[in-house]
């Protein structure tokens, strides 16, 4: 036995710890017992982030797969209990870092439901606009990382290239590529800047050219087909038992999309389809996500047409922050008119502004659960208020976290190479899983 593979006796039999490449020594030492436990991750390029898979193998067949998570746990839910309701946005946006706009919107919808307020029409339309751009960006990253994990590197370079275009537009609108903290309770933090609408239209034109390239590149590609077809099968019953929603559920044939079935943010007024597949495998999920990108582009276009001039933050001065922002000399967004007013004319307005920003607004006691359709499925926010200026408890039902439970069902009995395809087809984002 080589020094690379120290062995030790346990009640379970001989355990080999492989630290280096001397595979022959391991195989020779293992004898007739072909059962092998392989620890994959948390640092592994194919595990979609810091996911750890404990795989029990017989030869190349996975007999048992267990996911180990928590490596990215940052206590976001606990932290939010020590910040005011508006500051909570800055925390939730960092959960599922590929879909920050969705986290923010779900959280803000929950706070608004607790407050019993309606946000202005324009703010809702901007939210839809940003969410759908974000959905395209998120699906592109799925395509990119999923492609990379299956060896399709061109999918990665293309996916990330197009995604960057989406992020550019989101940066124009929100000021940041990711972690925007743009959607706020009561509306959005500022109106669309000049030129944003044109930039979105440009983006749509580019995407209309480039998204079909995905089809041309991958759909007819025999290797891509063989890696995904009949792999990671999970039917509707399995999905519902395991709580799986989103593209995985739709790839099994059930057109359950909250934008259609329990509409929010005025989605009932948009014309779009819910793509489904019937194969219930990785291939179906690929097709559903590509089709969803095209549907999202339709929604973005309609959102642009629906944009009417108007306020983007609730008029109620007890809740809404000033939203007419301009770039200050310190590089931060400033509402110059507002600063002029509170600093120059009204002591009461200054006090009020100070109170609103440092102390925050009070939210009537109670609890709500608000679900929305994120790129990965049902993203639900359970928010509890005790009537104070801080959340009493916020729990986020993260689709990545719940969907990840299906990894065992998809992997067990398959080849180890298909386990990679299975995890890729689930599209878990570890920031969301661990929170």
């Amino acid at each position: 036995m080589s020094a690379y593979t120290p062995e030790r006796e346990t009640t379970e039999g001989t355990v080999y710890t492989v630290t280096g490449g001397d595979w022959d020594a391991v195989v020779a030492g293992a004898g007739d017992d072909q059962r092998m436990v392989v620890n994959m991750g948390p640092q592994h390029p194919s595990t979609h982030g810091v996911l750890r898979l404990v795989l029990e193998l017989e030869g190349e067949t996975v007999t048992s797969a267990r996911t180990v998570i928590g490596y990215l746990h940052t206590g976001i839910e606990k932290n939010m209990e020590y910040r005011n309701w508006t500051q909570g946005v800055t925390f939730v946006t960092r959960m599922d870092y590929l879909a920050p706009i969705f986290n923010e919107t779900a959280y803000c919808l929950a706070v608004e439901k607790l407050l019993g307020i309606e946000v202005p029409e324009r703010a809702t339309t901007i939210r839809v606009l940003c969410m759908e751009i974000n959905r395209i960006a998120s699906h592109l990253v799925w395509l990119a990382t999923g492609g990379m994990e299956l060896g399709a590197l061109t999918a990665m370079t293309n996916g990330f290239r197009e995604r960057e275009l989406c992020l550019d537009v989101l940066e124009t609108i929100t000021g940041l590529r990711m972690n925007h903290a743009y959607i706020r309770p009561g509306g959005v933090s500022q109106d669309l800047p000049p030129g944003a609408v044109e930039k979105v239209r440009e983006l749509l034109e580019t995407l209309e050219e480039r998204v079909p390239i995905v089809d041309q590149l991958l759909t007819g590609q025999p290797i891509w087909q063989q890696r995904l077809q009949d792999v990671a099968y999970l039917d509707v019953q399995g999905c519902l038992a395991l709580g799986v929603t989103g593209p995985i559920l739709r790839s099994a044939g059930l057109a359950w999309d909250l934008r259609k079935t329990q509409p929010y943010c005025g989605y009932e007024n948009y014309d779009f389809e819910v793509p489904t597949a019937t194969t219930a495998d990785g291939w179906g999920r690929f097709q559903v996500r590509v089709a969803e990108m095209k549907e999202s582009m339709k929604i973005v276009e309609q959102a642009l047409d629906r944009l009417q001039p108007g306020p983007v933050m609730i008029e109620d001065k007890k809740i809404g922050w000033p939203a007419q922002l301009a770039l200050g000399s310190d590089g931060m967004g400033q509402s110059l008119d507002h600063v002029k007013k509170i600093m120059g004319t009204s002591m009461e307005a200054l006090i009020h502004h100070f109170k609103l920003v440092t102390e925050g607004f009070r939210v009537p006691a109670g609890q709500v659960y608000v679900p929305i359709e994120s790129p990965r499925g049902e993203l639900g926010v359970h928010a509890v208020s005790d009537g104070g200026t801080r959340p009493f408890r916020v729990h986020v039902r993260e689709p990545s976290f719940v969907n990840l439970q299906s990894a065992s069902a998809m992997c067990e009995g398959s080849l180890i190479a298909d386990a990679i395809a299975a995890v890729a087809s689930i599209d878990p984002v570890m920031g969301g899983v661990d929170r």
Partner: protein, 253 residues
């Protein structure tokens, strides 16, 4: 806080319970000594307009005492599909009268409070009864209400894809006896979520196949999202001033 709320009747406990020293400024207790009753109805003390209740507030509003509202259940009819669903639940579940503590309709959401031992039973009825058909258990989480005796609440959000309905079931257990039956046998999706509730709140789900920590390290002490578990943190120095850690900053709640 008074646990004596009689169903359907509002009881008011005396405002004399107000503790003027306990609210803000003291490290780690950002909570007012107020109670959040699980019906989403709060019993709050003082300072509802502005500022802290500990005397540092000079606005004159700090000493106000708001009378607490007891837990109450919503009287029938609830409106919408809520009556239909609760009637169906009552008809299909013989244990309804014994186990359902109260039903609350708030902000267009239906919450059924049940005894902890009945969680598995009600989950099975909700899933299997043709008039209910809550096929999906969307979320299981915990909430810690320090003012309640049974302070750990397990909260279940059910979704019916057939009827496009959502329903919340809540059950409360104490620190000393934090046991609930696991619903994993009915909804396998509860696996990870119950583990998270155990990890974060120390709620024990009996019958769970492997109730281990999921987000925190295996050897972690304590349950971080309980309200008496400190957030932690260190003071940060910035331009000569020292900013205390978040849980020691002034609180307005």
């Amino acid at each position: 806080m008074s646990e004596s709320g009689v169903e359907g009747k509002i009881t008011v406990s005396p405002g004399g319970e107000h503790d003027p020293t306990g609210a803000a400024g003291t490290g780690g207790t950002h909570l007012t000594p107020s109670a959040v009753s699980p019906g989403g109805l709060a019993a709050r003390h003082g300072s509802d307009m502005f500022g802290a209740a500990n005397g540092s507030d000079t606005t004159g509003f700090g000493g106000l005492v708001e009378k607490p509202v007891a837990k109450l259940s919503t009287p029938k009819p609830y409106g919408g599909w809520f009556d239909e669903a609760t009637d169906a639940l009552e008809a299909a579940w013989p244990g309804f009268a014994d186990n359902v503590l109260r039903v609350v309709v708030d902000r267009g959401e239906l919450t059924v409070y049940v005894k902890p031992a009945a969680v598995l039973e009600i989950a099975r009825v909700l899933r299997d009864e043709p008039n209910l058909r809550f096929e999906l258990l969307s979320s299981v989480s915990g909430v810690d209400y320090p003012a309640d005796d049974a302070r750990l609440h397990a909260v279940y959000h059910f979704t019916s894809l057939t009827y496009r309905r959502r329903l919340r079931v809540e059950a409360a257990v104490t620190f000393e006896d934090p046991h609930l039956p696991s619903v994993c046998s009915v909804y396998p999706t509860a696996d990870f979520q119950e583990r998270e509730a155990w990890d974060m709140f120390g709620i024990v789900f009996d019958g769970h196949p492997a109730l281990t920590r999921i987000l925190m390290p295996d050897d972690w002490d304590g349950h971080p999202q309980r309200k008496d578990y400190p957030l932690g943190g260190i003071p940060v120095e910035y331009k000569g001033a020292s900013i205390p850690p978040p849980d020691e900053r002034r609180s307005y709640s």
